[in-house]
Symmetry: C2
């Protein structure tokens, strides 16, 4: 008997099989299966973000399992919520897939989304499934804020720049995959980023003046933060260096979803100082301007 | 000089050009440009839903303008929020697009999303843009609830079934487009559905026991409602007949995003009675079981 596919199960059979694997939480007033979900946000503020993963661009089915893709798709969104000083509560998932997609792949994706979300207490509350030639996973995350939220625009000269989480591991892992190496910690880091979710709330409470996650590369994402804040950011390469990867990967590799923040007060446990905020513009490393990072259309 | 494309403008140039066209609202505490948006929901409950549109499946660039696609993508989500008894506040938009996508197409899409959202007072608060071989527009909507929310599962025998909005126009319009007819009210209805957004809140306040929007076809969507409620729904063809389209289109055509609801009280203005809820299961039309509607993978 051939393997069940989206076509053989049908749209509604597939949706039922997926939602059966998804636990709900106390915050969910109405879960999957209706026109929309209803989620409680007692403090009346919602952090909202979305990220799309495309096969061949963000993942390859021969390099990552469906479970890995689910973990990674959730991580990209959960990290964005953390980077505001929030905690994700609910995910919405859109899946555009060929009709011959194995049902097992969709279930693996759901399991990965579920397990990554569970790291912060979030659950999948709804979604949409459509047919498409190319496999696309779209996730939106909703989060709550225990306190203040932190934008990219509040850094001031005199602040230190701190980082939490890995830098450069995902891009180093991608290069290994491209060269035929299919196992190891760097490859694992590419398949399943490990953002330091809990430190987003900690950094907000510690008075972070600006914060973002590193999606496109340290220099590029700090460049956005520097521009939004109207400041210059000076990085010390000795402070970001990591024996596991090259300095180029640390500075320009994306998709690890580390958190970077600026602040003037004591540095929270789990964060390392990597530089400082001064007057001016741009990002410099050891005194030299650096550019580079991911642009989807270049 | 050649037309600007996503590639020539770059990811961040494209995002800047799009967000410059998007007004914000009082509910938006932080709009586009950061890791995530922050939106106020004073009553602490959020209606959340997502829908994906794929080129070649949900739209064709030679049949619909980018503006039309934006209107349609927003409408599918806003109607889901309305079908819960809510009003959408904020949209998140994901765009997966080839690098040669004309910038004008992305701007037209943004304008369409903006203008459809404005019909209910919602705004686009964030998004993501990635490269892909196939053009995919993913929208998530967040909405607030002025009162109770209405699921699909509360219909009880004795209720009447009411509908608001067009039925069958979009599918009739699609068939005209397929036959080469590019203008006319049915074709317009396929390009830009007109869901009766305001009636969702009205029906909830009027005591609707169950409600959904018609995305996949009247019989199919009422079938979901009947199954969730554990009832049978009897439709009178004379009550749904529409001189503009065939009865088959009325019963099985999707994408008009009409609202259908069950209730026992007075029928609100703008809604028409199309049938009744009885004991049993399934959907019957003039006493005969009917099936049919859209399945993405069949």
């Amino acid at each position: 008997m051939s393997e069940p596919t989206a076509r053989s199960l049908g749209e509604f059979g597939l949706i039922s099989a997926v939602t059966a694997r998804l636990p709900q939480s106390d915050a969910v007033l109405l879960g999957p299966g209706d026109d929309a979900a209803v989620v409680a946000f007692p403090d009346g503020r919602v952090v909202a973000t979305t990220d799309i993963l495309v096969e061949g661009v963000h993942f390859r089915r021969n390099w990552s399992t469906a479970y890995d893709v689910g973990r990674k798709a959730a991580a990209a969104n959960l990290a964005d919520v953390a980077a505001m000083g929030g905690t994700a509560t609910a995910l919405l998932v859109g899946l555009a897939a060929p009709a011959d997609l194995p049902v097992a792949w969709a279930l693996g994706l759901a399991d990965g989304l579920r397990d990554e979300a569970a790291l912060v207490g979030a659950v999948v509350v709804g979604g949409d499934t459509v047919s498409a030639a190319q496999l696309v996973v779209s996730v939106a995350a909703l989060g709550s804020l225990p306190g203040r939220f932190v934008t990219r625009s509040g850094a001031v000269p005199g602040d230190v720049v701190v980082a939490a989480g890995r830098l450069g591991w995902s891009s180093a892992g991608l290069r290994l995959l491209q060269s035929g190496v299919l196992e190891g910690p760097l490859v694992d880091a590419h398949r399943r980023p490990r953002p330091p979710y809990a430190l987003g709330v900690v950094l907000a409470a510690a008075g972070a003046t600006a914060m973002c996650d590193v999606s496109d590369g340290l220099v590029q994402d700090l460049g956005h933060l520097a521009r939004a804040s109207g400041v210059r950011i000076e990085i010390e390469s000795a402070c970001v260096a990591d024996e596991a990867v090259s300095l180029a990967d640390v500075l320009t590799g994306g998709e690890d979803h580390a958190l970077v923040a600026t602040l003037s007060g004591p540095v929270p446990q789990g964060c390392r100082v990597i530089g400082r905020v001064v007057q001016g513009e741009g990002v410099v490393v050891d005194g030299e301007a650096v550019t580079g990072g991911w642009d989807h259309f270049s």
